[in-house]
């Protein structure tokens, strides 16, 4: 296994709108090792989510380099970005972003279908993953019938499915009460560590710190010293 599952080096991101030019990231570099949990903190507008988008191959940096799972990601190559997302990245969001018409099992299974898993293999893995996050008895529940914590567990199972090497979470506890938030973080951290995945959590929530191996602060598009 590579010593680094995710690396960004000297990443700059500039958004241009008409004559306006906003430099959101101003040369950010960081690495995430397998099994490492990195918390990324910072005030709103500091560039955390933009950095997460670049690490997740959703956005390309204006300059700088991104390496995921040992593969250098070319800037602007939409097909490669999509392929890296499909193969190596799992996302968890504040709003869960589950498909409301699909059951918990189908939400995970569908993600696996998109990743290229055949029907039977996808169903088997989806079921196993949901059992690992403690939702073996909620497989056929629609998201509307699940609590916030359960929804986030489904989202975690979906992120874990297909064995990506990098997990990226955007404010995963923001919609959960303290107790449930702690349980979800603990589960997320344990699963990431057991499976040797690099986990990056973007957060405002100070309680995330206790679950992280490393905490990086961001301010004005730079990592705080």
């Amino acid at each position: 296994m590579s010593e680094t599952v995710l690396e960004v080096r000297d990443v700059v991101k500039v958004f241009e709108e008409g004559a306006q030019r906003v430099e959101v990231l101003k040369g950010v570099s960081l690495r995430v090792a397998p099994g490492e949990v990195l918390a990324l903190e910072g005030p709103s507008g500091s560039g955390k989510t933009t950095l997460l988008s670049i690490m997740g191959c959703i956005l390309s940096p204006t300059s700088g380099a991104v390496r995921v799972d040992g593969e250098v990601v070319s800037r602007g190559d939409v097909r490669q970005l999509r392929e890296v997302r499909r193969r190596s990245i799992g996302f968890v969001f504040q709003q869960y972003n589950l498909f409301p018409a699909l059951t918990a099992l189908e939400n995970v299974e569908y993600a696996l279908n998109v990743k290229g898993f055949a029907a039977r293999a996808a169903r088997h893995e989806a079921q196993q993953t949901l059992e690992r996050v403690g939702l073996g008895d909620r497989l056929h529940f629609l998201p509307r019938d699940l609590s916030g914590g359960q929804k986030q567990r489904v989202a975690i199972a979906r992120a874990l499915a297909g064995a990506p090497s990098v997990l990226l979470a955007d404010e995963p506890t923001a919609n959960l009460d303290t107790q449930v938030g702690l349980q979800v973080l603990e589960l997320f951290r344990d699963l990431a560590k057991q499976e040797g995945k690099g986990l990056v959590i973007v957060t405002h929530d100070p309680k995330v710190r206790q679950f992280a191996d490393r905490v990086e602060g961001m301010r004005d598009g730079r990592l705080a010293a």
């Binding site: 990245i89 504040q94 409301p100 699909l102």
Partner: protein
């Protein structure tokens, strides 16, 4: 495989019902209108299709089988001498007035031959023997005439152009496009009745020798009868149909109906699928964030359109079939053939897929980064 398309469609049942209703409406409109049109057109050529004649010799520029013009009956003698002809006989087709017991007069379309049996006319006899027609003033009347003439029985008498004829039998299915009831009588009787039919005929029916080529024989007949038109069975049926389609504006009317049906279908399906696509935009963003491509999203929209097409067609088809008995009570024949049904089904699928494509542009530009937005 999990079908997000199907699940999303069924998740919002009201929208699904609206989509399917739109498709079903369009399908019903097209099936019933076109079925009526084809049923009507079938009447325009029903005698041509059923008569056992391979070639029809007509007067020059006769537009359709009902609107016959007469020409000398001796033409048949020349036709009989043409190579490849097995048999040729005169057929008189003439509108005549028939007096009802009430004293009122109604028009009927008389088909007159000397030997009906050899030409399989009429092809569906209910009561009576067609061979008895040559014995005197007798007629066979189609049962559909009851709608215009009122009830009648075998043995009843009716006056045709002032002369009494005995009804010696009844037929089924014989019809004219003009809706004038069809009556069968002997050729000589008809010639005597009609002022313009003296020593005249409306058509010469031709039966070919085995192995003879209809087009070649028709060309030979044209050469010896230059003042007549000569058609193969298929060409004559086509000419008769075309006359009614073009001259009555029926074709244009059907074209407009089909266009409106398709337009309604496209608008409803496009509108509901587009609204659905917009409402699920974040989900599509999630599909892209997971590594899905635009094609994965196009497939979802395409599958939804296909489901709407299949369910809408089934519903519209069932509705149309259900309407047939009701239409039949109004003497309207909705002709629905498997081939036509298949054509409408393919059209429905294409219509729905086309409508789905209107949403493609909207979803093609989805930025997966929107998954980060609250």
């Amino acid at each position: 495989m999990v079908s997000l398309a199907r699940k999303n469609l069924l998740h919002d049942r009201l929208r699904f019902a609206i989509t399917v209703s739109g498709v079903a409406f369009a399908v019903t409109l097209v099936l019933v209108q076109m079925g009526l049109f084809m049923g009507l057109l079938a009447k325009a050529t029903i005698t041509i299709e059923n008569a056992d004649a391979d070639i029809w010799v007509t007067s020059h520029e006769t537009p359709n089988v009902d609107f016959a013009h007469n020409f000398p009956e001796t033409t048949v003698l020349r036709v009989r001498g043409v190579q490849g002809v097995a048999r040729a006989d005169n057929l008189l087709v003439q509108f005549m007035n028939l007096q009802l017991p009430s004293g009122a007069e109604e028009g009927c379309l008389v088909y007159a031959l000397q030997d009906f049996e050899s030409w399989r006319l009429p092809w569906s006899v209910n009561e009576g023997d067609v061979r008895d027609l040559r014995r005197g003033r007798f007629v066979l009347m189609d049962r559909s005439a009851e709608r215009r003439f009122g009830a009648f029985q075998v043995g009843d008498y009716r006056e045709i152009l002032g002369r009494r004829f005995k009804i010696i039998g009844t037929t089924n299915q014989a019809a004219s496009f003009t809706t004038a009831p069809v009556v069968f009588m002997d050729f000589r009787q008809a010639q005597e009745l009609a002022e313009n039919a003296f020593q005249k005929t409306s058509y010469v029916l031709v039966k070919l020798l085995p192995g003879a080529n209809a087009r070649q024989v028709a060309a030979r007949i044209r050469a010896i009868a230059p003042h007549n038109d000569v058609y193969t069975k298929a060409d004559w049926a086509s000419r008769s149909r075309t006359y009614w389609v073009v001259s009555t504006g029926l074709g244009m009317n059907m074209g407009v109906t089909v266009f409106l049906g398709v337009l309604v279908g496209v608008v409803v399906v496009a509108q509901t699928l587009y609204t659905s696509a917009v409402e699920h935009i974040k989900e599509f963003g999630m599909v892209k964030a997971m590594g899905g491509s635009n094609w994965d999203i196009y497939r979802i929209l395409g599958e939804q359109a296909l489901i709407a097409a299949v369910v809408g067609f089934a519903l519209g088809g069932a509705l149309s079939l259900g309407m047939r008995p009701l239409m039949a009570k109004l003497y309207l024949n909705v002709l629905l053939t498997p081939g036509f049904g298949l054509m409408v089904f393919v059209g429905t699928v294409l219509m729905c897929l086309g409508a789905a494509m209107l949403s493609f542009k909207r979803v093609a530009g989805i930025d997966p980064a929107l998954v980060f937005r609250a």
